[in-house]
């Protein structure tokens, strides 16, 4: 290996051909699930972002195809149930999904076919990480990428509850949680995410968050000139902004895009769990571990049941959470 990979500026450019060392190191991690006092990195990586311009998206699913190929997943060949979404939902083997909505604009009475690429938003303030009771199962890098470290995952499903966007999916095979990694393995060697690389219309673009915001503003101006007065950027402040964000023609109504949350924020319960993980995190871990022992060596998915949720909530209400940073 010769030099260190550059930090990627775009997904469209071709990758370097010489072997290069990873530029996304364990020391670049800024937050770790169920772990306090994470030593802060000496360097700050440039914040990256993937911009999904819904107005340029043609719903071709090249992103889904690239995602399957790059991550080498094997989603099932399902049935057609009368919709264009295939698979029908995100799965442990399908980290991104085109969602199609037929929406009649009440102002113009014209049909609009809203097509949105769904997947992990890589929140600046990640609810999954905050909710996760397993030390080291979820990490956040200083460039903004939120990644799951599967060897540490206990499959409890708290990340699902913690996610305001309903993204992670628990595998019934290995009982681990899966979602988009923002192709952290590609970004580490100077490439953009596979989906952005494959996108034929550059509806998906990747680069520094700053550049992507500038590009998004440019796109919003174009949409406004075409009569989309409410065009705008979806980079929700409720989760501290996201490293995957959208340009929407109707930014005043995110939920028309197949239920994109209007004002996403981490559930107060989960916000509280952070305290749990700090003071009594291992107690929660203990619940899972005992559960495992009783039901016999992970014979079932390690789901959080209602009782466990109640227990956690009680802990939260006891006022032990500090709501502060990790």
């Amino acid at each position: 290996m010769s030099e260190t990979a550059p930090q990627p500026k775009t997904a469209a450019s071709n990758p370097p051909v010489q072997p290069i060392a990873s530029n996304l190191l364990p020391s670049d991690v800024v937050r770790i699930s169920a772990t306090k006092d994470v030593p802060q990195p000496e360097r700050q990586l440039t914040k990256v972002a993937k911009l999904i311009d819904v107005s340029k998206c043609i719903g071709c699913k090249a992103c889904q195809s690239a995602c399957i190929e790059w991550n080498d997943t094997k989603p099932e060949v399902e049935e057609n149930v009368g919709v264009y979404e295939n698979p029908h939902d995100l799965t442990p083997n399908m980290f991104t999904l085109m969602r199609f909505t037929e929406w009649v604009n009440p102002e113009t009475d014209n049909l609009e076919w809203l097509i949105r690429k769904d997947g992990c938003m890589h929140c600046e303030d990640p609810g999954c990480l905050k909710a996760c009771p397993a030390p080291g199962a979820i990490v956040q890098y200083s460039n903004g990428i939120v990644d799951f470290i599967h060897e540490n995952c206990i499959g409890c499903g708290y990340c699902v509850t913690g996610c305001p966007f309903d993204i992670p999916r628990i595998s019934k095979v290995d009982h681990k949680s899966y979602k988009c990694t923002l192709c952290s393995d590609r970004v580490a060697v100077g490439q953009g995410p596979a989906c952005a690389k494959a996108c034929p219309t550059q509806a998906i673009v990747f680069g520094t968050k700053e550049d992507m915001i500038a590009h998004a503003n440019d796109r919003v101006a174009d949409l406004k000139s075409r009569g989309y007065d409410n065009a705008g950027i979806y980079d929700p402040p409720g989760v501290g902004g996201t490293h995957v964000f959208y340009v929407l023609h109707h930014a005043d109504k995110p939920s028309i895009y197949d239920g994109l949350p209007d004002e996403p924020r981490i559930s107060p319960v989960v916000e509280g769990w952070k305290g749990v993980t700090k003071t009594a995190g291992l107690a929660v871990m203990g619940v899972a571990a005992v559960g495992a022992a009783i039901h016999g060596i992970f014979a079932r998915a390690n789901k959080v049941d209602a009782h466990e949720e109640q227990e956690a909530e009680k802990l939260v209400q006891s006022g032990d959470g500090d709501g502060g940073s990790v």
Partner: protein, 813 residues
């Protein structure tokens, strides 16, 4: 395409009609998004369905499948009525001022000369008035009632916005909005591009659909300019190459013709191919026909083709019918008149209409040879797959041989894209198993057949025994050898035509361009339009320099575009009469006072002064044709014709069925539903989906995941009427067959009001069969009617009549 994919970024308005570019050509569609993003271009979509292209459009309007001519003639009428005409262009670069014979006319949906018995026209009246000097008579003032412009005006008069709404089902206000948007492009500084595909070709009058838009583009002055043109989006990565190379029974590479049996000798054949200019001083490029033809014959038969034997003209087959197109072949096969069928890269069991007839025809063969990288349905037509291929295997005696071939990624060579670019590619993978290159298979067969003739003789073995076969390994011609042969080379010293002492090429050298082709036997060349693709300087198709001076989108040093590396055809028409660009900000070429130069290869002799030679040098008129004389079988102007199966009769002439000159075989005619047949009330149309490529990608698990199962698309209204639920199972049937599918109930298809009648449209995507990774299903060809375009025999896949009902359970065979 007259232009190229990269040129689409230069446009102000994209109209996608007769295609679904975002869905079927997603990578090329990026240039539309470029135009929208960087030029503020608008996108119009006219389609029976609200498609994925429509989802990113600025304006959408619905249209009934098979009614496009009415829409287009309506648009032309609106342009003329509202003076949205680029007059300088129309007067000088079209045949608007040419006078037409007094006998020519149109009434009751038919042009003069119709013979019902022969289902053909006597086209003698569809021509210009010629003067005694041999040149056409014109009226530059456009006052003469017999000039093309006035005849066109009269011809389109019936196509009012109300008429368009009545026939097409397009709401009048939407039609008028589109006309206004198009009309803005009649100024010299605004251009529209037309992107179309099989949505226009797969009709019994497909060629006339395209003529209609070409005429509109000429009236707007949009042909030959940047961001304009008629841009056919080719459906395979190399289907342009297929037509270029002449892989049709009636063509010779480079759009030359196989002789007919009426042309028994060379002199007769050439007598109708002089293409003498019919306006004074004009260049008529097809006058070089003999150079291209003789060089082709030399490429085929080398020393055996001589001036004395008319270049071995007697070796060429002579057609007894216009063409042995696919439908004719399967008709013959079905009559037991074909014993052996070679199916190379072709899956007709799913891709040709009336599948039932295909199965029957294949069952009558003695032997079927399949050359394909995939296990196709055609190769397994004899195998029972329940309802998905319900055949009695024991009753089929056809012997099937499968010869596995390599696919494009395992092969080297050039693919010709829609923009006529020959892009060389290199093998990216090693062929699996026993797969062999097609060239190896063909060569091995040829060498064996040749040996048989050598040893055993035959009735007329000469064309086979004398075929040029000059390859390093006769058993496997290499792609570079074949490419060099297609470019052409000098067989002996080639001299300049004017300065006959000047040497152009020495014997053995590659020719630099088709201008060096000769008809004296001194050159050979397999495909004249590819002249210049592999010169003494090497493989021009492998060039990958993406410099683009002034961002014109021409990319002259990237690959090679035929003809002559020209990126925009007719580009002389991008300048006014003095040779200045209509739009200085979109210059392609201009007249410097001495010659033509600019960013593209000029489509005119470089020293031809403006005003002396007109821009359309491939036509003996020197101008483009609003009136196409007798060039097309079904009329010099497009006229509204219903599909062969239609919900209403032709309002011009209720007795007229479909295209009155389209060829219909008797057995196929019996399988047409009656006009307005209540048993088949719904209009069906077929199309591709982005997730798949034809019947190939269902073999790939990833594509199968993304679109796993056959479905049909119907409106919420039709679903409610028939009690069909979203995702429910339905049966769809026509007079030719039936299929079962999942129902996709959508707002993107709406019922239409056609001539006072509610008409439902059913969308039937292709892509599913009984082989591969996806779920078993059907193709639209189980249902569609077997009739083709009157000029080129492209099957009418885009409009036929069906019925639909809920089907609760999976039926058993």
């Amino acid at each position: 395409m007259t232009n190229s994919w990269t040129d689409i970024k230069n446009t102000d308005l994209v109209i996608v009609m007769g295609g679904n570019a975002a869905e079927a050509h997603p990578c090329g569609f990026k240039w539309v998004t470029e135009a929208k993003h960087h030029r503020g271009a608008k996108l119009i979509v006219v389609d029976p369905r609200y498609t994925r292209t429509a989802s990113v459009s600025d304006f959408y309007a619905p249209i009934r499948p098979g009614s496009d001519i009415a829409f287009l003639m309506g648009a032309i009428r609106w342009m003329i009525e509202n003076d949205k005409v680029q007059w300088d262009y129309v007067r000088n670069y079209t045949n608007a001022s040419f006078l037409v014979k007094d006998e020519f006319g149109w009434s009751d949906g038919l042009f003069t000369g119709y013979d019902e018995e022969k289902r053909d026209y006597d086209k003698s009246s569809w021509d210009y008035k010629m003067g005694p000097d041999g040149f056409v008579q014109t009226d530059p003032t456009l006052q003469d009632p017999r000039c093309v412009w006035n005849l066109l005006k009269a011809h389109v008069d019936a196509y009012t916005p109300e008429f368009v709404e009545r026939i097409c089902g397009t709401p009048k206000d939407k039609f008028l909005t589109i006309c206004e948007m198009i009309g803005e492009c009649s100024t010299p500084t605004k251009t529209m591009t037309s992107m179309y595909a099989l949505g226009w070709t797969q009709h019994s009058k497909g060629a006339q659909n395209i003529r209609g838009m070409a005429m509109l583009q000429l009236i707007l002055g949009n042909i030959g300019v940047r961001g304009g043109g008629m841009n056919a989006l080719r459906g395979h990565s190399n289907i342009q190459g297929l037509t270029d190379i002449g892989l049709m029974s009636n063509l010779i590479p480079g759009y030359l013709n196989i002789p007919t049996e009426m042309e028994a000798d060379w002199a007769t054949y050439m007598s109708t191919r002089g293409f003498k200019p019919i306006v004074p001083g004009q260049t008529s490029y097809w006058q070089n026909y003999s150079k291209f033809m003789v060089s082709f014959m030399k490429a085929m038969w080398g020393d055996a083709a001589t001036a004395e034997n008319d270049w071995a003209y007697h070796y060429l087959p002579k057609l007894d019918v216009p063409a042995y197109d696919g439908m004719r072949m399967f008709e013959l096969m079905n009559h037991g008149k074909v014993n052996l069928y070679f199916c190379q890269g072709f899956n007709p069991l799913l891709s040709f209409p009336n599948r039932g007839k295909m199965t029957e025809a294949f069952s009558k063969l003695k032997m079927l040879v399949i050359m394909d990288p995939l296990a196709t349905e055609t190769a397994h037509f004899w195998q029972n797959h329940g309802i998905y291929n319900d055949v009695d295997s024991a009753a089929i005696q056809t012997e099937v041989l499968e010869l596995p071939t390599t696919c494009f990624a395992e092969d080297e060579g050039a693919l010709v894209n829609s923009g006529r670019w020959l892009q060389w590619h290199w093998a990216g993978a090693t062929p699996p198993g026993e797969a062999k290159h097609d060239t190896w298979i063909m060569a091995q067969i040829f060498l064996r057949v040749k040996k048989l003739y050598q040893e055993e003789g035959g009735v007329f073995p000469d064309p086979i025994l004398n075929l040029t076969w000059d390859y390093a390994d006769p058993g496997e011609p290499m792609p570079d050898e074949l490419a060099r042969e297609m470019n052409g080379r000098a067989l002996r010293t080639v001299y300049d035509l004017k300065d006959t002492t000047k040497v152009v090429a020495e014997a053995g050298q590659q020719l630099a361009n088709f201008g060096q082709y000769r008809d004296d036997g001194s050159t050979m060349g397999g495909c004249w339009i590819y002249g210049g693709s592999w010169t003494e300087d090497g493989n021009m198709m492998a060039r990958r320099d993406n410099n683009d001076p002034d961002d014109t989108g021409a990319f002259l040093n990237w690959s090679f575009a035929w003809p002559a590396n020209r990126r925009i055809l007719y580009n002389r028409a991008s300048c006014d009469l003095q040779g200045k660009p209509w739009d200085p900000s979109r210059k392609i070429i201009e007249w410097t006072g001495e010659k033509w130069e600019g960013y593209d290869v000029p489509d005119i002799p470089v020293t031809a002064k403006p005003g002396e030679v007109h821009p359309f040098i491939m036509n003996p008129e020197g101008v483009s044709r609003l009136f196409s004389r007798g060039m097309m079988r079904d009329g010099p102007f497009p006229t509204h014709m219903e599909p062969f199966e239609a919900p209403i009769a032709n309002v011009f002439n209720p007795k007229m069925r479909g295209n009155p000159v389209a060829r219909v075989f008797e057995s196929d005619a019996e399988k047409f539903a009656a006009i307005g047949d209540p048993e088949f009330p719904c209009v069906a149309t077929s199309y591709r989906l982005t997730e798949h490529f034809h019947y190939w990608t269902k073999h790939n698990p990833v594509n199968a995941v993304l679109q796993p199962e056959f479905f049909v698309e119907i409106s919420e209204e039709l679903a409610a009427e028939r009690g069909i639920e979203r995702g429910g199972r339905v049966r769809v049937w026509s007079k030719r067959g039936e299929v079962w599918a999942k129902a996709l109930v959508t707002k993107r298809i709406r019922p239409m009001q056609i001539d006072g009648k509610t008409v439902h449209v059913i969308g039937i995507p292709l892509h599913w069969g009984f082989m591969g990774a996806a779920r078993k299903g059907f193709g639209p060809n189980s249902l569609s009617s077997q009739v083709g375009d009157a000029n080129v025999e492209t099957p009418e896949f885009k409009a036929f009549m069906v019925n639909i009902e809920p089907s609760a359970e999976e039926p058993v065979a």
